[in-house]
Amino acid sequence: MAIEIAQDLPASERRKLLDIWETAPGIYGWLATVDHKKIGVRYLCTAFFFLVIGGVEALLMRIQLAQPGLKLLSPEAYNQLFSMHGVTMIFLYALPMLSGFSNYLWPLLLGSRDMAFPRLNALSYWVYLFAGIFLYISFPLGQAPNGGWFNYVPNTELQYDPGINIDIYSLGLIFLGISTVVGSANFVVTVLRCRAPGMSVNRLPILVWGTLTASVANLLAVPAVSLACFLLWMDRRYFTHFYVISGGGQPLLWQHLFWVFGHPWVYALVLPGMGIVSDALPVFCRRPLVGYTLVAISTVSTMILGFGVWVHHMFATGLPVVALSFFSAASFVIAIPSAIAVFAWIATIWTGRPQFKTPFLFFAGFILLFVIGGVSGFMTASVALDWQLTDTYFIVAHLHYVLLGINVFPVVGGIHFWFPKITGRMMDERLGKWTFWTMFIGFNLAFFPMHLIGLMGMPRRVYTYSAELGVGGYNLLISAGAFLLAAGILLLLVNIVRSRTLGAVAGPNPWDAPTLEWSVSSPPPPYNFAVIPVIASRHPLWEDRLDETTDRSTVHGGLVLDEGKETVGVTVLDAEPDVILKMPGDTLVPLLTALGMMVIFCGMLLINFWVVGAGAVWTAMVLLVWLAPRDHAAKERPAVHG
């Protein structure tokens, strides 16, 4: 049978696709949608909400620390705040924010109609939301986790922390871990299967490399912290002796399990952010990224090395010197791939023509903050020097430079960059520049002096400090800077809210960017692409002007796939079309599964096994409905092209 390759789809065809793909209206649609774009936006909004909450927690802490000896917060209140600030930012903001971007963008970047597992996608969001609620129930109960985000034992054992604070922490993290693992599996399988024909591995955007790497890492790292938390919960409620020394338990077992997870996790929090910059910075330099292959390799190698450095969080625990030396050396080596990426970005700017739009400012600022965070990390890699630096504000400076510098700044730049695509409107450019400078100055004012007070020996995780330390003046400056940074976030929020209704209308490609998401309307139709694109290079929309080869991608001629919700599956390396994948429609099953899991975890918190049992039975039944394979009309179909 001859294949039709039409140049574009007529309106009636588009209408048909719209009917197939559009989410049902009303509350049912809101609860049952599996559209990756809607789920992505939910992730972004929920993560932003937690960013603000975590920020408020920080501001309260900074008020207490503005001067030595203040008594505005009790020690217990402060300890709950600093613990929840860490938990919120690291678990409820940083990764979900990046998941939001990846969820929204991946199918559009990859030329697909959805992720590989749309229902799993919805589940990962609902579980994230419920786990966040589970963790935050602790505050109104006055029992928020108070052992730090790192939750060392024996301080968090029942004997020293008798309330339910730590039970909420342990069970909450296990619960949240389900969302992370499930979401990571979705990303991994999506990139292996759901790409446009021709999108071979060497044509993947770096954001895809970053999130893919982070997702593989999360699949392997999250079980460590889930196990650590489970064993702690057992110690606390079933009087086991995993970490309790009477009976042979080992406090350091917690630290090993936690940091085997914790170190790869922090790379998962930043590699997608680096990917955002690697993809979006070149747009504002009007040229492709320099050293694409090097940057992709550096992304993967950073993550692999990231599994071999965890003991650098334990340098002062008295481990044998040989072991410490190995991990110190590895911690130096891990700087090498990062350095490659920094040089690649600078080279891209150097050989390009910078455009001083708001996203560019955030990406350029990010490079500087990355380097500062990187060198403070380099200093802590030295085990001998770390024996002085660890547990001081020097580390607080380092971690905030890398986390805000390599996660928040790219995220905010990414918000300005992709806002037009998501909403169809441009953000206000002038307000954007004000946002950048306020955030940049506020951030450096808040966190740069922390290097100094750290070198002056101010310890971390303290609710107050003595005037004799001589750090009162700097602390006041830091607190002021924190408020300025918060003002910048407020400006961002104002810009987002205003621009949704008042922003200039954006066309498909307001930035003249090269990747596939800019080939569809803003916002994209529910089905993303009317026909599945065919890809010939890394920058499909720039091919004509770059003229590197004669091959051309096309978004106007490709597989139509309109017999129901469908997208194409491809081979792993070369992206040859392989199968027509049937995608699920709206369904309440993911929400119901998440509710069942919530019941299970609440039952465990209450140590009530009737409740746990009820939740388990419910979850199992819903999963049965979910996993039952659906029948398709045809086993094979001719590949109709539009």
């Binding site: 630096l389 547990d391 995780r461 400090y465």
Partner: protein, 328 residues
Amino acid sequence: MKRSAAGLFSLLMLSNCARAPLGYLEGEGPAARSIASLGWGLLGISVAVCLITGALLVFSIFRRRAQTDGLGRGDDRSSLRWIGVGLSVTTVLLLASAVWTLWTVRGLSDTSRAAEVNIDVTGQQWWWEVRYRSDTPSREFSTANDLVIPAGVPVQLNLRSRDVVHSFWVPKLAGKMDMIPGQTNRIRIEADRPGIYRGQCSEFCGVQHAQMAFFVIALAPADFQTWWNHQLEPARNDPKAIPQQTFIERCSGCHAIRGLPAGGILGPNLSHFGSRRTIAAGILPNDSGNLAHWLNDSQGVKPGSKMPELHLAANQVDALTAYLEGLK
């Protein structure tokens, strides 16, 4: 310009250090000095890297370019070569830093000079139990929170914990070492000369982690021997004295004083309390007014500490204060 910026930075650091009792960029003992020089070296490299990369970034943004429209495409070979240059420099710096680090670690692990004094320091929420060891058991004694050592010689500390993980840190003399229940970590400290060096718990250990400080007091070796002998002297045991009776009645459940029938081990040993520098683990300078304040309102000074509100009468507070301050 870069050099003056670096110089200004160093000046800023040094001037701060003089006023920073917990600062460690200037060591007052061999371990701390060795780490400090490593610290300055790595700090110097870090500052240089930031300044150079920052300059490259700024230059790359603002450098003059031919004004053209359209997209850049171009031969990236020279860029890749420069990336190679940057990578090589980075690798050399990292390698040198790693070698320097391992060299420093080797030096810090050197135990060729025998430790002259052996002290068990046990952290507990939220104070420091200190026991001086001796080959002659009768010459051993306990004290708390003040760590007196002889200057100019290595001192071995055996670090333990009675409850949660703490960390022993006296930055001017040495790096940190954790105190982990169930194991003994050893560290050597040495002060170049007599002086007072501030210390702080450096692992979050609960509600009063922030107020778990201590002081290391280094004495000339001869003075140290005198001090040791003095510590062995028991307090005068006068069962009829009211202050002593009050102490036995209200305090000895947790506290001990050498020479008295007071053997509480839950709280700090109060022998020779009058000669201690601070009260409540480095929180209040030790004088009558502060001691009275502590006895009246321990939970106000250190909320959550294990020292309960005693609800003593004013005359009891006065008696105890005078008594304890008299234990020199």
